[in-house]
């Protein structure tokens, strides 16, 4: 359990590392043709086999910002905002962009004149703090926000110290929303339904197992003829967890796992283990690791013709540019990747990134998709306050947040499951020789 819940964040960090790597790789590192060939297919909104679309009311940003003209008062409310704006670079990048999502949403809401509850228009002021990636500092900031500033909503942190902060916020019945990969270890770990001590904690990060399962279901839907899967993972706690998740997800989707190979950190030459796996005649070769390893594994596997299809988390344009004509007759997929991590796969997402670029001074920051781990949820929280008719009664707001479905930038139906984990779909992309990259949106695997 511990390993599982830590995986997504590490996956995210790896993805950030990948994006950092990609950004640090100049245009000449990869053939420009790759970028030119990148194209987004029309969003398919393909539904996974187990999806059961919600049939109730799905709120929109317009619903949240609507005012009826009867308001007579204006009040500014304060929310806590604490993220790792300094510290280890990869954590900092992720935290900054996650925090950005909150800042951006709050600015939009305030620019729209705030939100209305009854006869009052509320605007939001964020009390911003840098946790410096230090759990002790995070604890101090949490106490300061609750005791001194008397906030009843706290956003963040993204990673370090969130478990410790959650213990405090839940004891004080403060609404606490964050990506929070450790939340499953603490307040949300032992409950079927988030209640009692954990009622005010919400994790905006979807469960990693969902991503893997979505990817597997999507592959099965696209390629029913594929049956045999081989998996390669790094020999580390995280790597082995990813292997387990792959095995479980692809088995659940109806595939046969014909080989699992683990390699030691620092490996460059994967040909011995690829030779071994090739003997098993896999249809699909799966790997999710740091970008350098993935690039090496994919290149060597393509040379050795190990499988018919290769699954990677490398950005599709990098794959296309790095391997060029070596992709002829082959297919590389990136399935079950975080929503909008590569290219926007919905009109709402495309519009969001345009606005977000403007908010960021003209250019999108690195790993900009991570901002979607918070942006939509700000609107959802406001919607919950409107539904509860209060900005103060945190229990009533949490109750409302449990029931709300929201059409946001990341997903057209976002909600929290009973354990207060967000439910968001994933994206899947296919790279083929001399063809535009196709990306589509896989609907989430619903409860």
């Amino acid at each position: 359990m511990i390993k599982r819940l830590r995986v997504w964040w590490i996956v995210g960090v790896l993805l950030t590392a990948l994006l950092v790597g990609a950004a640090c790789t100049s245009d000449d590192d990869v053939d420009d043709d790759g970028e030119d060939a990148t194209a987004t297919s029309a969003p398919t909104n393909g539904e996974a086999a187990t999806a059961t679309p919600f049939t109730g009311t799905i709120l929109t940003p317009e619903d949240v910002l609507r005012k009826d003209g009867t308001a007579t008062k204006e009040v500014e409310i304060e929310w806590g905002w604490m993220f790792e704006l300094s510290g280890p670079p990869q954590i900092q990048i992720f935290a900054t962009v996650t925090g950005d999502g909150v800042l951006f949403a709050v600015q939009e809401i305030n620019d729209a004149g705030g939100f209305q509850i009854g006869d009052t228009i509320y605007t939001i002021k964020l009390l911003e703090h840098d946790t410096e990636s230090d759990p002790n500092k995070t604890i101090g900031i949490t106490r300061q926000l609750i005791v001194d500033d008397e906030v009843n909503v706290i956003w963040g942190p993204a990673s370090f110290g969130e478990a410790e902060a959650t213990v405090i916020t839940q004891a004080e019945q403060v609404l606490h929303l964050c990506a929070c990969q450790d939340r499953g270890l603490t307040s949300l770990s032992s409950v079927e339904k988030a209640a009692g001590e954990s009622h005010w904690a919400f994790q905006t990060l979807p469960l990693v197992s969902r991503f893997f399962l979505q990817g597997a279901l999507n592959v099965k839907e696209d390629h029913p003829e594929y049956e045999r899967v081989a998996i390669i993972c790094i020999d580390s706690e995280i790597g082995r967890s990813i292997c387990e998740l792959y095995e479980e997800s692809y088995s659940a989707a109806g595939f046969e796992i014909v080989g699992v190979k683990v390699f030691p950190p620092g490996t460059s030459d994967y040909t011995p283990l690829l030779t071994n796996l090739k003997q098993q005649n896999p249809d699909i070769l799966l790997n999710f690791d740091d970008p350098t390893a993935q690039l090496n594994i994919l290149g060597q596997a393509l040379d050795m013709n190990v499988a018919s299809s290769y699954n990677t988390s490398l950005p599709p344009d990098i794959v296309q540019a790095a391997f060029g004509d070596r992709l002829e007759g082959k297919e590389v997929t990136a399935g079950g990747i975080p929503r909008q991590a590569t290219v926007p796969t919905s009109e709402a997402a495309a519009a969001y990134f345009e606005r977000y670029a403007e908010f960021s001074g003209g250019e999108l920051p690195l790993a900009s998709f991570v901002s979607l781990l918070s942006y939509d949820f700000v609107y959802m929280l406001v919607a919950a306050m409107q539904q509860a008719g209060t900005v103060e009664d945190t229990t009533a707001i949490a109750d409302a947040l449990e029931t709300i479905h929201y059409a946001g930038a990341a997903e057209d139906d976002i909600y929290f499951n009973e354990q207060h984990f967000s439910v968001i779909g994933s994206d899947g992309c296919i790279v083929r020789f001399e063809q535009p990259i196709e990306c589509s949106h896989d609907a989430p695997v619903r409860d």
Partner: protein, 295 residues
């Protein structure tokens, strides 16, 4: 060809490629140690520097085939400067040279990150064809690496055996003082050897840049393997390093091909331990002054 045989041949080919790279790194370590007694751990970073310089030259429009020798010359020159600026002051105290070498790892690593960033660079791949023979997939690029390694090793042997510089180098390795008395410019020979060691490592790095994605921490992986190879072969022994490179490449590849893959490094270092238990100075111990250093 039966499947078992083709798999075996495939693994043999896999081993051959990686052995070539290990041999070049080990030779860089062993020629410097053989002459000076200094364990130059920073050779791993010179390999990384060679890989990134090859990439930079190629990125600048130079062909890969020219980029590798250019990088080798540049790193060889840099290694020469390091010898003149630092290592020559440690020749009487090789342990100090070892410490300088450790410090250089950090300096060079940060320098590389400063210039090229922490990200990876995709392989250059001048050859993209793959030969399929009897079920064995042999990328042409890998053949190229093998042959370049063989040619360089052959040239090195010839230089050491038949040229005036090679004889001077061997004489210095046997006994520096006696070599000096015979009129050999010992300081110059040592400086040249540092340049040669650096150039060998850079060549290995350049070749690696055509096989694998490279990143600034690449060197440490190959340093350990190169050092293991040099130890197995007998530190300071050039022929021993080449034979040991093949042995280590085979052990690693066959081990991870037929047994548990996660134990790959354990096979290499298990072999190293086993050999050192039986032959504490490696399979082919060096002679002369070097032997004294090791005693």
């Amino acid at each position: 060809m039966s499947q078992e045989l083709s798999v075996f041949m495939q693994q043999l080919f896999n081993a051959l490629t990686i052995s070539g790279v290990y041999a070049l790194v080990a030779l860089g370590i062993t020629v410097i140690f053989g002459l000076t007694g200094i364990v130059k751990f920073s050779i791993g970073e010179l390999l990384t520097l060679g890989a990134f310089l090859t990439f930079a030259f190629w990125e600048g429009g130079t062909t890969f085939f020219l980029a590798v020798p250019l990088a080798a010359i540049a790193v060889g020159g840099f290694s020469l400067l390091l010898e003149r600026g630092a290592f020559r002051f440690t020749l009487d105290q090789p342990i100090n040279g070892f410490i300088v070498s450790l410090g250089l790892i950090l300096v060079l690593q940060n320098l590389i990150i400063e210039i090229w960033g922490v990200g990876f660079k995709a392989p250059i791949r001048p050859f993209t064809q793959v030969w399929e023979v009897g079920g064995v997939s042999m990328p042409v690029q890998r053949w190229f690496v093998v042959w370049v390694a063989v040619v360089i090793i052959g040239l090195l042997f010839m230089v050491l055996r038949y040229t005036k510089y090679g004889r001077a180098m061997r004489a210095c390795a046997e006994d520096r003082d006696a070599a000096a008395l015979m009129g050999i410019p010992v300081a110059l020979v040592i400086a040249g050897t540092f340049a040669l060691g650096g150039a060998l490592a850079a060549t290995a790095g350049g070749l690696l840049a055509s096989l694998f994605a490279i990143q600034p921490f690449l060197g440490s992986q190959y340093l350990l393997k190169g050092f293991a190879v040099a130890l197995v072969g007998g530190l300071g022994n050039v022929e021993g390093a080449v034979i040991a490179a093949v042995l280590v490449g085979l052990t690693e590849t066959m081990g991870s091909g037929y047994l548990a893959t996660e134990w790959r490094d354990a096979y290499t270092f298990g072999l190293l331990i086993a050999i050192l238990l039986v032959r504490p100075r490696g399979l082919f111990p060096a002679r002369g002054r070097l032997q004294e250093t090791l005693q």
